[in-house]
């Protein structure tokens, strides 16, 4: 399999070092979940991968080319944020069609493609609705449709279901898994929920406490029993949280 994304010794400081040095590789078509204790820089790492923020050290390569914050025209990354970030004054269809403009598609082609991806995300029949008129889960579906519509090299998702209730969350996890299987996109999914990661990721990357490094990379191909996996990961997170509290106590 081809390597899609390479993270090479990436570090980031915000007054204090947040990310020490993180390296890993993502192969094309993988569904990677980034896990770690709160405040370990998961979101920051995702923003670096998306070119929204420059790293303090190291570099990120997408399809072999370096990702740089100032060269955004070369980037082809879809991002689903914690909030839906839809424009409330545009219908769901227009929200998706808007991000297709920079791809140089004609109006008709934009709308057709927008409708297609909204349908893929389970929003057929709701294309003309304004975001304020649909539920939070549906807004997040539309945000996913928007990210997929640009047919990105990598889809970055930053705790996209954090704001949803438990039931919707489970439904959306299955939906993302289905969409991943149907589209074959490479997905990087940040979450603090171990159950969520174990349920949807093919590869789980556990970060250590701040300043973070990669603590473990685990293949989640079904060879390991789900319950044991969750237990192991939980133990790891607990250790990291304790370590962080210990470090802060000494300071």
């Amino acid at each position: 399999m081809a390597v899609k994304l390479e993270v090479q010794a990436v570090g980031k400081d915000f007054l204090i070092p947040v990310i020490d040095s993180v390296s890993f590789q993502v192969e094309a078509g993988e569904f990677v979940c980034l896990l770690g204790p709160n405040g370990c820089g998961k979101t920051t790492l995702l923003r670096i991968l998306g070119g929204l923020e420059p790293p303090s050290r190291g570099q990120v390569r997408l399809d072999g080319r370096p990702v740089q914050a100032e060269r955004r025209h070369e980037r082809h990354v879809g991002v689903v944020f914690q909030e839906d970030r839809l424009l409330p004054w545009l219908s769901l269809r227009d929200n998706v069609a808007l991000v297709l403009k920079p791809l140089g598609l004609e109006r008709g082609a934009r709308e057709t493609r927008a409708a297609g991806y909204l349908a893929l995300a389970g929003l057929q029949g709701f294309e003309g609705y304004y975001p304020g008129r649909v539920s939070g889960g549906m807004r997040q579906r539309a945000a996913i449709a928007r990210a997929l519509a640009i047919e990105p090299d990598v889809l970055l998702m930053d705790e996209p279901f954090g704001a949803l209730d438990a039931q919707n969350r489970r439904i959306m996890q299955q939906e993302v898994r289905r969409i991943w299987a149907e589209t074959g996109r490479t997905i990087l999914f940040v979450t603090h929920s171990i159950e969520e990661a174990a349920a949807i990721g093919t590869t789980l990357i556990m970060l250590s406490a701040r300043p973070s490094r990669v603590r473990a990379v685990i293949r989640n191909d079904g060879s390991q029993e789900r319950g044991k996996l969750i237990d192991d990961l939980t133990t790891m997170v607990m250790e990291e949280v304790e370590r962080q509290q210990g470090a802060e106590g000494r300071r």
């Binding site: 970030r85 545009l90 808007l98 403009k101 920079p102």
Partner: protein, 236 residues
């Protein structure tokens, strides 16, 4: 309620005489007279054209200030300070200054209107610009929208309600202020004709022209601002 007010008005009018308080019915017939004679159109048009120039320039200047505040943080600070000063300056100051600068001419009410409505419209707009959701702009960055696309798709729609609200208040203020400024130095307009009516002891006509002002305000709200607001809040 309305009947009660009219009854009280009529009684007070009887008690104090038509010079102090003309009866409601006489105001209505007076209104009929200026409509028939066509006098209403000339003076209203004179006032409205001054408002159009003064208020219109204030809106244009506000748009430039809003744009400046959006583009640069420094400009934002300058605009904020300037608006704070303008906001605390009285109508009378501008009337006196404009009389000194422009003498007895059309430009006195126009300038006064401009200076008074500018801070109202501009502070609304600057507030609107400041309230643009940075997270939406970041979304625009992620999806590589050009600066122009970001401006038209994100900045303008989020600022427009603030602009319309500012214009609605600003227009009401423009009407009130320009009429005061018209007392001095011009020979047309609602303010002029009200003051003239007072001088010739035609209190009834003062009330009639006050009614004209109310109707203009009412009409612009119903014809212009309310439909505009409805259209803007379609998605809510």
């Amino acid at each position: 309620m309305l009947a009660l007010v009219l009854a009280a008005w009529t009684l007070l009018s009887r008690r104090y005489g038509a010079y102090v308080l003309p009866a409601p019915w006489s105001v209505v017939t007076g209104f009929g007279e200026i409509v028939r004679s066509g006098e209403i159109w000339g003076h209203s048009a004179a006032s409205l054209s001054r408002i159009a120039i003064g208020f219109g320039s204030a809106v244009v200047a506000s748009l430039l200030m809003g744009l400046g505040a959006f583009v640069s943080r420094t400009a934002r600070g300058v605009v904020d300070d300037l608006l704070a000063i303008l906001n605390s300056t009285s109508v009378f100051v501008w009337i006196v200054i404009s009389l000194i600068w422009f003498g007895l001419s059309n430009w006195a009410p126009i300038f006064t209107t401009f200076m008074i409505t500018l801070p109202v419209v501009a502070s609304n707009l600057v507030e609107g610009v400041a309230s643009v959701d940075r997270r939406l702009l970041e979304m625009g960055e992620v999806y590589r929208l050009s600066p122009r696309e970001q401006f038209t798709a994100i900045v303008i729609p989020s600022t427009l309600p603030y602009l319309v609200a500012g214009m609605k208040v600003g227009f009401g203020l423009a009407l009130k202020v320009s009429v005061v400024a018209e007392i001095f130095g011009v020979t047309s307009g609602i303010g002029y004709v009200m003051n003239y009516s007072r001088e010739i002891l035609a209190t009834r006509m003062v009330f009639v022209w006050a009614l004209v002002m109310i109707l203009i305000m009412f009409a612009t709200d119903k014809v212009l601002f309310d439909p505009l607001n409805r259209r803007l809040s379609r998605w809510r």
